[in-house]
């Protein structure tokens, strides 16, 4: 049944997957055909679907038939189907050409049938053969089922150590693959075993574990086995209420699944409850019904048990002949099938009967036989090995728990590490985001400051430009006015014959002064229009000035020398203008007052300074005797205004003016 359930579950899952696949494919195609990820998903689903379809298609009809029978046998063999023997014979024939896996399945079916017919030795051999066939095929569920089958046989034979050992083997495999139904089946078997051994505590523990595991699968055989065995325990301990409650639920389930075999077990329990509650007629009714069903299902041990129960009931009714007959019938069946665990019950009926009849000779004889059976089942050696198995199993369980505990600790440790890493990472990211935001704000502030400064400078420049434009217009106007004055004066002088010398000089004075002013105006405008003035510009401008001066005094020799590396040195318009005016004034003085024959101008670089020398070989003047006039004062002031140094040396051999400028 469990195997059948398992396969049914797998089949259902496949159908669900197929349906889901069709729906998902349709949706994905409609939602986004262009989405690459969806396409990959669809392809993956196609692959998986094709794979499962291929798996189904790869099974041959014979293999399918074997699987079908294997699944069905689990359900049907307990219900005594007549055709099952023929079916198993059929698949046994067809499995000869199949792989070991299918042969093992058939062998397990055969083992189950042998167990049903109480042929425990044969059943054990079949299960062992199945394990051998499966070998290392990885079919763990089939191997574990075989161990369960072997354990069941040993349990029925009363060989408890071997039974426990095989149950534990099955449990290990089921636990490893986490197959809940298998685990529950093994626990149910162990529960029955401990009940047979009269170890009520362990029996209850295992049965309750089975019920707990299968609380959502109440229609499974293992749940029903565990339920009726637990009800049996409650009945034996006098808790009839609990026992009857479980029996009623069991009967409801067995009616719904139409299982005569399990219904008989719950009826048996119910009858026992009535018998020990002294409701003998009800007990008789249920025992008879139970026997009828046991005969129908054909499970000998159950038939024998029903006979023992009827014997016990007859004893309660003081129907000694019936009691002896039923007990002997039970013993006959049990001896035939070599089912020792139920024998003591039949012997007990006979012992009570002979005791009540006062036939103590037979009592002693029965006691001996009963003791013999008990001895065969439970010896010190067997008990020791059971204890050893239990210790081993408990040790394994504890080790498992320790491992789980360690795993849990590791999990918590890892979780802590993850939480710490996450926290630190988030902290770092928060800090980086904060830093970035702070930088952004700071940058915005700086940018705003720069833009404000630019805007201020631009405004100032605009204002200055406006002022310059006004002054340019003014200067242009003045220049034209001066030209008009010069022209007018010259025209007057030319048109009228002026005898008055003074008047003529005055007019000439106006004309020459206006001309000088125009020259100054032009020089200044030249400087204003030149952003920077080089010594080369200065030289050419001074040459022009000298050429004009030569017209007045052509006997003076002029020279202008500039270091080659200073030719391109640039001065600001202010500096250039002041230097030019100073040189102009110095040359003018030499021409006018010095009576010089040579005037030389030299420009040199001395360390980080520029040295300008204006030298003549004239008569010179006494610096102490002559107070500095406006011309000398102006020269000094101009040089000092531009941060330079002015020096004047004069003797009767000539005059030397030295200017030092910082560059």
């Amino acid at each position: 049944m469990l195997i059948f359930n398992y396969f049914w579950l797998c089949l259902t899952k496949k159908i669900i997957i197929k349906c889901s696949f069709n729906r998902i494919t349709y949706l994905l195609f409609n939602i986004s055909m262009k989405n690459l990820i969806s396409l990959i998903l669809i392809l993956l689903l196609f692959c998986s679907c094709n794979k499962s379809e291929k798996l189904n298609k790869s099974l041959t009809p014979n293999q399918r038939q074997i699987i079908s029978v294997y699944n069905g046998v689990g359900k049907n063999y307990l219900e005594g189907s007549d055709s099952i023997e023929a079916t198993i014979q059929n698949i046994e024939n067809i499995s000869k050409t199949e792989s070991d896996r299918y042969k093992a399945m058939v062998t397990i079916c055969r083992g189950n049938m042998s167990t049903k017919s109480s042929e425990y030795e044969i059943a054990t051999k079949k299960f062992r053969k199945a394990i051998q066939l499966l070998g290392n095929s990885g079919r763990d569920t089939l191997v574990a089922r075989s161990y369960n089958g072997i354990a069941s046989c040993y349990k029925n034979k009363g060989d408890y150590p071997n039974a426990i050992s095989n149950y534990q083997n099955a449990l290990r495999i089921f636990n490893r693959i986490n197959f809940v139904n298998g685990i529950a089946t093994a626990y149910a078997g162990l529960g029955q075993l401990y009940l047979q051994k009269n170890d009520i505590t362990l029996a209850k523990k295992h049965l309750k574990m089975t019920i707990k595991l299968l609380k959502n699968k109440k229609y499974s055989h293992s749940y029903l086995i565990a339920s009726h065995t637990l009800a049996n325990i409650y009945g034996m301990s006098g808790d009839m209420k609990s026992a009857l409650k479980i029996d009623e639920e069991g009967l409801r389930i067995t009616d719904s699944i139409k299982s005569d075999h399990f219904k008989a077990t719950f009826l048996d329990n119910k009858a026992n409850c009535f018998m020990y509650s002294n409701q003998l007629d009800s007990a008789q009714y249920y025992f008879d019904k139970c026997l009828e069903m046991d005969i129908k299902t054909g499970i000998d041990k159950q038939i024998a048990d029903s006979h023992s129960n009827l014997g016990q009931l007859a004893l309660f009714k003081k129907e000694f002949a019936t009691a002896e007959k039923q007990a002997l019938k039970s013993l006959e069946i049990l001896k035939r099938i070599d089912h020792k665990p139920y024998m003591p019950k039949a012997y007990d009926v006979l012992e009570q009967l002979y005791t009540q009849q006062g036939d103590y000779k037979k009592v002693i004889e029965i006691q001996k036989k009963s003791f013999q059976v008990y001895k065969e089942m439970i010896t010190e050696k067997k008990e020791a090995s059971i204890a050893e198995f239990n210790i081993l199993y408990e040790t394994q369980e504890k080790e498992k728990q320790i491992l789980e505990s360690k795993s849990e600790t590791n999990k918590k440790h890892n979780q802590l590490i993850i939480a710490t890493v996450t926290f630190l990472g988030l902290l770092l990211i928060t800090f980086l985001i904060y830093r970035q935001q702070k930088l952004k704000n700071k940058q915005q502030e700086q940018e705003f400051e720069l833009k404000t400064a630019i805007s201020q400078i631009e405004n100032q420049n605009k204002l200055q430009e406006q002022r310059l434009n006004i002054s340019r217009d003014l200067h242009d106007n003045i220049g034209s006015q001066l030209t008009f004055i010069i022209s007018s004066v010259d025209n007057v002088k030319y048109a009228f014959d002026i005898d008055n010398k003074k008047l003529d000089d005055k007019l000439t004075n106006i004309s020459s002064f206006a001309k000088e002013t125009i020259v100054e105006l032009r020089d200044t405008i030249w400087a204003m229009n030149s952003n920077e003035i080089t010594f080369e510009d200065l030289e050419s401008r001074i040459h022009n000035f000298i050429e004009k001066a030569k017209e007045a005094k052509d006997e003076i020799q002029f020279s202008f020398e500039t270091d080659d590396n200073l030719q391109a040195t640039k001065l600001t318009s202010i500096k250039g203008m002041n230097v030019y005016r100073t040189i102009q004034e110095a040359v003018n003085n030499s021409i006018k007052y010095a009576d010089a024959s040579t005037v030389s101008i030299t420009v040199k670089r001395i360390e980080s300074q520029i040295q300008i020398k204006i030298e003549d070989d004239g008569i010179g003047f006494d610096e102490t005797a002559i107070q500095k006039g406006n011309g000398l004062k102006n020269m000094q002031k101009r040089i000092e205004d531009i941060g330079g140094n002015f020096n004047l040396e004069s003797s009767n051999l000539g005059t030397l003016i030295t200017i030092l400028l910082n560059n």
Partner: protein
């Protein structure tokens, strides 16, 4: 768990790296922008300096022109005086 831890660490490393590069990029971009603004300020400063020099020269020239104007006025006054004398003498002679 280890895979999850590695995934988290990788995610954080990627985030931190991208934030760090974003930070550096932001700094670089700002530096470029400020450099261009500073250069513009330097250009404006030079222009302003030039204008200031021109204004100084202009002021200086205005001062000179003022002096020249005074001087010219004086000469013209002298000329007028001389003319007046000439005209007075002519009238007396007549």
């Amino acid at each position: 768990m280890i895979i999850l831890l590695i995934a988290i660490v990788i995610a954080f490393v990627v985030s931190i790296a991208s934030l760090y590069f974003g930070y550096s990029k932001q700094k670089r971009t700002f530096k470029k922008r400020t450099t261009s603004l500073e250069n513009y300020i330097i250009v404006l400063g030079k222009q302003q300096e030039k204008q200031l020099n021109q204004l100084k020269l202009s002021d200086f020239l205005s001062e000179q022109l003022k002096e020249s104007n005074d001087h010219l006025n004086k000469i013209i006054y002298d000329v007028n005086f001389q003319l007046f004398l000439v005209m007075f003498n002519k009238k007396n002679n007549n």
